[in-house]
C-alpha cells in the first residue's frame, strides 16, 4: 500500500465500519495504488453514473442491493446520472413496463443507499456548484468537464462503482486532476473563426476532442456568451475525446494562473468549423425525432423552444430532456405547456441515448454534438446536426434542409 492512510481510513479498510464501507475503501485504495496516489482526499459531493438499467443491467442492480444490504450509505451530497426514462411519465414515453420496473428498482436501491433520486448530467444547473478548488467525485463526462473547467472544482472521470465508493467512504484517491501539476494545459488551441451558436460550440468541441483526446487544453480566441455555450463545448470534447479539463483565456477560473500553459505545449489551430459539422451530420433528410437537451437543458433552453413552439404544430416528434427541477421551473413559467401543446415533450430524469429506444427512430435531428456522436451507436439512428434555424425547419416540416 503506497498511499498513506489516516487511522480512520485504516479502520474502514479493516472492516470496523462494516463490510459496505470496507468495500468502498478497498475500491478507492486500489485506484489510488494504480494511479500512484500518495493519500486520499475528502470529497464534497458525488455524481454517480451507471443509473440507466440499460447500462447497469441485472448484475449492477444486484450489486447495488448487496452493497446497501451490507450497510453502505452515502456520507456526502450525492446525485445520479440520467435514468433510462422519465421516472413518472415512462408510459407516455413508450417505455416497456418490464424495463420500467427494473429501472424503478435501481432508483429504489440508490434511495436505500441514501441518494435522492435527482437524475441529471447537469447538476450544476440546479444548485450543485462546487467552488474553485473543491474536491469532488463526479462520473458523467460532460459534468466532469464542467466542474473542472468552468467551476474550477477538481474531479477525475469516475466510473459508476468508483464514484459510489467515494460517496460511501467520503473520500477519493488524490491523483490525476486532484493535483495541481496535472491541471496545466499541454495543448494551446487557437481559434480564429467566429463561434456563435450552440451548434458552433458543439462542432468546435467535436473537432478539438478528436484531435486532443484526453489532454488538458488552453483556448485562445473564444468569447462564450454564457453557461450553455460552455456546456455544449465541454460535452462535445468529452464525447469525441476524453477531455476532462480545459481553460479558456479570460473566462475560466484557472486560466489566469501563472504557468497554466506548460512550456512544452503543442498547438492546434482552428480556422473553420466545417469539418465538425460534416462529421456529425449525414443520412436521410426525413426526420422522425428532433431532440434537444443533451446535456440536460437549462431553463433558458426550454424557454427558447417554448417561444418557438407558441402557436405552432410540430410535425415530427420533438423531445427536450432535462432534470426534474428545471422541468418544474419551466412548468411554472408556462414553457412546458407551450411545448406540449405544439406536440412536443419535455421529459425529466431521463436521457435519450441511455433509454431503451433502439429501433424506434430512424433519423434524429439535434443541436447537440454529444447526442449526434452517440445516437448512431446507442440508438441505431442516422443523425442530422446543424443550426437552430435548420432545427426549426425540421420541427415544422419533418425534413432537413
Amino acid at each position: 500500500m503506497a498511499a498513506k492512510l489516516t487511522s480512520d481510513e485504516r479502520d474502514m479498510l479493516a472492516g470496523k465500519h462494516g463490510p459496505g464501507v470496507q468495500k468502498a475503501l478497498e475500491i478507492v485504495v486500489a485506484l489510488g495504488k494504480i494511479y500512484g496516489a500518495q493519500d486520499l482526499v475528502p470529497v464534497e459531493s458525488v455524481q454517480v453514473s451507471g443509473v440507466s438499467y440499460q447500462n447497469l443491467g441485472s448484475a449492477g442492480l444486484a450489486f447495488l442491493r448487496e452493497w446497501a444490504n451490507d450497510g453502505a450509505r452515502v456520507r456526502v451530497p450525492t446525485f445520479l446520472n440520467p435514468a433510462g426514462m422519465d421516472l413518472r411519465r415512462w408510459q407516455t414515453m413508450g417505455i416497456d413496463a418490464e424495463f420500467a420496473r427494473q429501472q424503478l428498482a435501481v432508483i429504489d436501491a440508490f434511495t436505500v443507499l441514501g441518494i435522492a433520486p435527482t437524475c441529471t448530467c447537469t447538476p450544476y444547473l440546479i444548485g450543485y456548484e462546487p467552488g474553485p478548488g473543491a474536491h469532488v467525485a463526479w462520473a458523467e463526462s460532460s459534468a466532469v468537464s464542467f466542474a473542472n473547467s468552468v467551476l474550477g472544482a477538481r474531479t477525475n472521470r469516475e466510473g459508476g462503482p468508483s464514484a459510489l465508493a467515494a460517496a460511501i467512504c467520503g473520500r477519493t484517491a488524490r491523483y490525476g486532476l486532484h493535483c495541481d501539476e496535472n491541471r496545466r494545459a499541454s495543448v494551446l488551441v487557437e481559434v480564429s473563426c467566429p463561434v456563435r451558436s450552440v451548434s458552433d460550440w458543439g462542432a468546435l468541441g467535436y473537432m478539438v476532442g478528436q484531435a486532443t483526446q484526453s489532454q488538458v487544453l488552453y483556448f485562445q480566441g473564444l468569447e462564450p456568451d454564457g453557461v450553455d455555450a460552455l456546456k455544449a463545448l465541454g460535452a462535445a470534447m468529452a464525447a469525441s475525446g476524453a477531455v476532462a479539463l480545459y481553460h479558456v483565456e479570460g473566462v475560466t477560473p484557472e486560466a489566469r494562473l501563472a504557468g497554466v500553459l506548460r512550456p512544452d505545449h503543442t498547438r492546434l489551430a482552428i480556422d473553420n468549423l466545417e469539418a465538425g459539422y460534416r462529421a456529425l451530420s449525414g443520412g436521410p433528410t426525413r426526420i422522425d425525432l428532433v431532440w434537444l437537451g443533451c446535456p440536460h437543458a437549462s431553463v433558458a433552453e426550454v424557454a427558447r423552444l417554448a417561444a418557438f413552439a407558441e402557436g405552432r404544430r410540430f410535425v415530427p416528434e420533438v423531445w427536450i430532456t432535462t432534470n426534474r427541477p428545471v422541468r418544474e421551473e419551466s412548468e411554472m413559467a408556462g414553457s412546458v405547456a407551450a411545448i406540449e401543446t405544439a406536440g412536443g415533450r419535455v421529459w425529466a430524469d431521463g436521457c435519450v441515448v441511455v433509454a431503451p429506444l433502439r429501433g424506434r427512430f430512424s433519423t434524429v435531428a439535434t443541436l447537440s454534438a454529444k447526442g449526434a456522436y452517440y445516437a448512431p451507436s446507442l440508438l441505431g439512428t442516422d443523425v442530422r446536426y446543424g443550426t437552430w434555424l435548420q432545427l426549426e425547419r425540421a420541427m415544422l416540416t419533418g425534413f432537413w434542409e
Binding site: L31, I34, A59, G60, A62, G159, G160, P161, A165
Partner: protein, 149 residues
C-alpha cells in the same frame, strides 16, 4: 515456458488480495468484459480477439490490461455470482474497470506481472503478491492456444 521441475516465482502488486490456483489462459491483447465476455458461460465472444471462443471460468486469466466500457466491472461481479468467473486475474498494468470488477467480484488480482514468463496451460498458484508458475501445468490443458502470437 519453464521446465516442470523448476517452478518460477513472480511477485506482483496486489489489487485484490486472495489465494487461487488454476491453469493459465494468456491473452496478448487487452480484454474488455462488457459485451465481450458472456457472463453466463464465461466464453470470450469478441470477434477477432485472439482468445475468441475460449472459456475464462476457473482459469488464471492473464492479459496486459483492460479495455472497453466501465460497465465491465459489473460483468465480473455477475460472473462471480454465476460461478463463471476466472480463478484469478494477472495484468501487466491494471486499469480502473478490471480493478473495480475484481474487488466487487471477489477475484484475486495482481498487476505488474511479466506475462512473458507465463504461457497458456501453465499451472499457476496465486497467494497474495506471490505467483508460482509451473510449466505445462498439473493438468493437460485442452484449451491450449496455438495461434502464432
Amino acid at each position: 515456458m519453464v521446465s516442470a521441475a523448476e517452478p518460477i516465482l513472480l511477485t506482483g502488486r496486489v489489487i485484490k488480495a486472495g489465494r487461487a490456483s488454476g491453469t493459465a489462459l494468456v491473452s496478448p491483447e487487452p480484454i474488455g468484459f462488457y459485451g465481450h465476455v458472456d457472463p453466463e458461460t464465461g466464453l470470450i465472444r469478441e470477434k477477432g480477439h485472439p482468445l475468441e471462443g475460449e472459456c475464462v471460468t476457473g482459469r488464471v486469466l492473464c492479459f496486459p490490461t483492460g479495455k472497453g466500457s466501465t460497465v465491465g466491472s459489473y460483468t465480473l461481479y455477475r460472473m462471480n455470482k454465476a460461478g463463471t468467473a476466472p480463478a484469478a486475474i494477472l495484468n501487466e498494468q491494471s486499469e480502473a474497470i478490471i480493478a473495480v470488477g475484481a474487488i466487487i467480484g471477489d477475484i484475486p488480482m495482481l498487476d505488474q506481472i511479466d506475462l512473458s514468463r507465463i504461457a497458456t496451460g501453465d499451472w499457476i498458484v496465486v497467494a497474495d503478491e506471490q505467483v508460482e508458475v509451473r510449466a505445462g501445468g498439473q493438468h493437460k490443458d485442452q484449451h491450449f492456444v496455438t495461434a502464432d502470437w
